[in-house]
Symmetry: C2
Subunit: 343 residues, 2 copies
Amino acid sequence: MERITIIDIAKMCGVGVTTVSRAINNHPDISEDTKAMVMKVIKENHYVPNNSARNLKRSASKTIAVLIKGITNPFFNHMIKVFEQEIQRKKYSFILQRVDENQDEIEVAIELEKEKRLKGIVFLGGYFSHSKEKLSQLTVPFVLSTIGMTSEFDLNDYSSVSVDDFKESYKMTDYLINQGHAKIALITASMDDASIGKLRYEGYKKALEDHGLAINEQLIWAMKEDIESYTMENGYTVTKELLESQEEFTAIFAISDNLAVGACKAIFEAGKRVPEDYSVAGFDGLDISFYYNPSLTTIRQPVVEIAEETIKILFDLIHKKITHAHKVFPADLVVRESTKSIL
Amino acid sequence: MERITIIDIAKMCGVGVTTVSRAINNHPDISEDTKAMVMKVIKENHYVPNNSARNLKRSASKTIAVLIKGITNPFFNHMIKVFEQEIQRKKYSFILQRVDENQDEIEVAIELEKEKRLKGIVFLGGYFSHSKEKLSQLTVPFVLSTIGMTSEFDLNDYSSVSVDDFKESYKMTDYLINQGHAKIALITASMDDASIGKLRYEGYKKALEDHGLAINEQLIWAMKEDIESYTMENGYTVTKELLESQEEFTAIFAISDNLAVGACKAIFEAGKRVPEDYSVAGFDGLDISFYYNPSLTTIRQPVVEIAEETIKILFDLIHKKITHAHKVFPADLVVRESTKSIL
């Protein structure tokens, strides 16, 4: 078979070569219908575009990068899909860039900016402790999405979308206390982690204080540093130690659903039941919190709304409609089978 | 503070500028210790390398791309980590590229080859139905990892690492039959999907035949096409319909653990128990299969070994030690709480 050219494709489609090129390169000036038709003909005829030309076009195209810390965290699954949809709807292309736990996301972003001529960046997950000077090296608009921020940041220096981790953690702890639980174990991040873990820990503490309950440091457990953070295995290992510590408690609040699942497993293995012997609560509202047995009481983050708002703010920044924005979404306390009143 | 230069960093480290540059650019000719020391000093002093120079170096560096279909599938989590470790150990850099369900991975790969001057490619997940002509457009070595292959492929045209999906599915079905189950519902991929779903379906069918059991088409259920495939939600929705169909069965074999979790939830909601009323078996050996309640009987794929072997074969191809290789790993039947004998 002779090699098919772009001219052949244009003829088959009854359109010009420019239109075919626009379809291939995801150019904004082509209708969705025409593009779909062209791509169908391309696919059916196994046409392979000339790549050098294509890359030239592409590198000049408009690209948004999403930099993600903790790509294996199921919390981000739905968000990634929304990002992709919203970015494509704006006729931009989308790059998903994984950032390692120990990697500097600003460094990665600066490099990507150059390589890909980015128009905007979303930082997703992890926590942020970069200086104003460092941030100012980013030359394109960016939004921090579901990232824990340390308080020394000037709100004018960046944009963000998230829930109020302090307040939502307070809400869950307050709920457990109102169910009669006074001895609530907390599974959280290590104390030198200035992240959502810290904010959720502070919310827990404040709720206990407001109810006049003492903080028992023996009930505050950090995730294991030698096990991947926010995993079922980490919650399981920590809870096994908690149970062995002989410290009394009636409830566990784990700052993620995955940790809560691991906690339940450790309780089952100790021959105890959830919630009859111990109430267990999570955070995030992952799918597994619904499908687990017992289903988990949790704080459900509005992930789709957070993702949509992130992109909306990013494009407002790109189009210079705003200089910065901070949006905080409320999350829902979802009461399910894993917690019970002991009053 | 005056801007720190690469010369300052070199002085602080007591090494030459070239060494600092090598540390930054992940060059092979530098010891791990020196590199770690240099990177520590760079981090402590908030030094930002000159990016243009750095990018030039980088684009000439040796890069492996991993193209993944179904990035949100927890099955790939462990594999991604192994890929990263092994590729870094070889002093190559690593790009993780997400491919959409409907995207043509060969197209994506061809584009990446040019942009990044790749040295090798791993295709992870999904299924492969590209022609020999299409495959031959890839100019660098590649390995298909845990990908279902249709039979019309010539083994000389590619390399692959996976389990034997047919055989492992047979193993699970055979086990269930030996526990006294004759009416085994199957939750699998749609029949026009020439993927692992098809292979696992064939294994199920063969096991029934070998035991002289009739195939009841009413017990074979495809995942819903309007719900993301291989999710808990899909298994849940299908099982609800299965239960409502009034078709008799004593066990469900779901071709992934996520589907099996959803199946359990649907059974619980119908007021039934696992395994007392229905046995439920999964496939993959995901973390959740251990942490779920009841823990799930499953086929555990040796994901770490598969990932390691994938990289080993890829580098053998790169170094022209081999022209192609196919490695099939055995998987383990792991019997847990979710299945029981009804003999």
